[in-house]
């Protein structure tokens, strides 16, 4: 659990540094924000991996078909990535890019869910 303290420290230090840089070199501040996001994600990656591993193990134990769980996990991953990137775009003042990315994220989530929806339709067809 000590990684959360490291992450909190890095985030706080990075934010103060970004605030100082924003006035004189906003491009550098943006690059710093990007680097900070990547670093924080890499610090929390082990915990994320553990959560995904747990979900997969639970799915295996209960015998849930892999596509069912994978689809939900992929949807969450798309949501997280879209949310972070949209926030980054807004920090950079790129509202249009953020909106476009949100739309793309929604489309990606729908695309990931499509195979399951197709299976549902096939089942309905077989029932009729």
């Amino acid at each position: 659990m000590e990684w959360i303290w490291k992450a909190a420290g890095i985030a706080a230090a990075g934010s103060v540094l970004g605030l100082l840089l924003r006035k004189h070199a906003p491009e550098t501040a943006l690059l710093l924000a990007a680097a900070l996001t990547g670093l924080l994600l890499s610090v929390g990656l082990d915990a994320l991996r553990a959560v995904v591993r747990f979900a997969r193990t639970a799915a295996e134990l209960s015998g849930v078909s892999a596509p069912a769980v994978t689809t939900v996990l992929k949807c969450c991953a798309i949501a997280v990535v879209t949310k972070l990137t949209c926030a980054f775009c807004r920090d950079a003042g790129q509202e249009a890019a953020a909106a476009a990315l949100e739309l793309a994220g929604c489309a990606a989530a729908a695309y990931v869910t499509l195979p399951l929806l197709e299976t549902v339709l096939d089942m309905i067809r077989s029932c009729i």
Binding site: V51, S62, A68, T71, L73, A79, C106, A109
Partner: protein, 376 residues
């Protein structure tokens, strides 16, 4: 009407043949019960037992059925043999839905996603839960239809034999009437279950899925209406059958009792001295037919029980566990996901109701034929 009169005529003829023929053979020392069993076609009845029930009852014969303890032991053994695996199967399937429900609810909360993304994850979760649930409900629908067909097929052999045995015991009119009523209502229930109630169950499940995915109250209301409709159709057919059977039993039973009294007194008075002896001999022969009727009835009850036992247990376990898991899911998901799990449990409940109604109809029919008036 014409067909029923012919059926009644055939049964009365069978009664007279068995009654007087057996009386004569009894006087000659021939094994009456064996001849009666052969005349009624009990061998064909034993052959008509479905394979699954035969496996459970271990080639039970009509004579063995008189030992009810033996039959109960066989059923209990089958129950204990399969009970554990059925509970495991129900637990596994309900836990699968709970897991997907928990994942699609807890992960968006853990990542602090906004309402729009939560709705997206819920849609993915509901799709995954639908895939898991529809597969299972569809296989249970097929199991339900197969069980109904097996009971219907067996009843087509059991009911004529049982009605003939009851007619040989003195219940000419009521046995025919009850046979006709049961055959008619079994056909009606079988057709209604396969063509109306099962599609209603699928429609109910589809509406529940839609309500869960879109958080739509209108669809949830439609699902409730479809469920009510399916249950009402089942209840109406079962109640109509019970009322019809009771009314025919009362009217035809009185006619049988009067006919038996008149026949006995006519024989006794028509042939002085010998008439009384003949009447008593005929009564003892008819008593044999009653014993045979009871054995056939118990055999029929045991077979129907064996056919329904495991499917009913499976459906009842699924119903109970899915309802319990649906309630448990409320702790992680207050939305449509938990209601979807309960709705799947409700679908299992209706399927259980269909199978139970068919089995109950057969039970009521067999027991009502066993309780008809006799010569004794």
């Amino acid at each position: 009407m014409k067909g029923r009169s012919i059926k009644k005529g055939v049964l009365i003829l069978a009664f007279l043949l068995v009654f007087f023929g057996a009386a004569a053979e009894h006087a000659r020392g021939i094994d009456v019960e064996e001849r009666q069993a052969s005349a009624l076609g009990t061998g064909a009845l034993e052959d008509a037992v479905p394979a699954g029930a035969r496996e459970i009852l271990d080639d039970l014969s009509i004579q063995d059925a008189q030992q009810t303890g033996h039959v109960t032991a066989k059923l209990k053994e089958a129950l204990f043999r399969s009970g554990g695996s059925l509970i495991q199967e129900s637990m596994r399937e309900s836990m699968q839905l709970l897991l997907v429900c928990a994942l699609c609810t807890l992960l968006p909360s853990a990542f602090a996603l906004d309402a729009r993304w939560r709705a997206g994850c819920r849609l993915a979760g509901v799709a995954a839960m639908t895939v898991l649930a529809v597969q299972s409900v569809h296989s249970f629908g097929s199991l339900c239809a197969e069980t109904i067909r097996e009971i219907g097929g067996f009843s087509r052999t059991l009911l004529p034999v049982l009605a003939s045995a009851a007619a040989a015991g003195g219940a000419m009119t009521s046995a025919a009437a009850k046979y006709a009523a049961t055959a008619l209502f079994m056909d009606v229930l079988q057709a209604a279950a396969e063509r109306l109630v099962l599609p209603l169950v699928y429609a109910y499940l589809a509406a529940s899925v839609g309500a869960a995915a879109l958080e739509n109250r209108g669809l949830a209301g439609a699902a409730g209406l479809l469920k009510w409709l399916a249950v009402t159709v089942l209840v109406c057919i079962s109640v109509a059958f019970a009322v019809y059977l009771s009314l025919t039993g009362v009217t035809a039973g009185a006619a049988d009792a009067a006919a038996v009294r008149i026949t006995k007194s006519a024989i006794s008075t028509a042939f002085p001295v010998v008439g009384g002896i003949l009447s008593d001999a005929a009564a003892s022969v008819a008593g044999g037919a009653v014993l045979l009727r009871n054995s056939i009835g118990v055999f029929g009850l045991a077979v129907v029980c064996a056919v329904c036992l495991l499917p009913l247990l499976r459906m009842a376990l699924h119903y109970l566990l899915f309802k319990a898991v649906g309630t448990l899911a409320l702790t992680v998901a207050e939305g449509g996901e938990s209601r979807l799990i309960s709705a799947v449990g409700g679908a299992y409940g209706i399927l259980c109701g269909i199978t139970g109604a068919v089995a109950l109809m057969m039970y009521i029919s067999i027991i009502s034929v066993l309780k008809v008036v006799t010569v004794l």
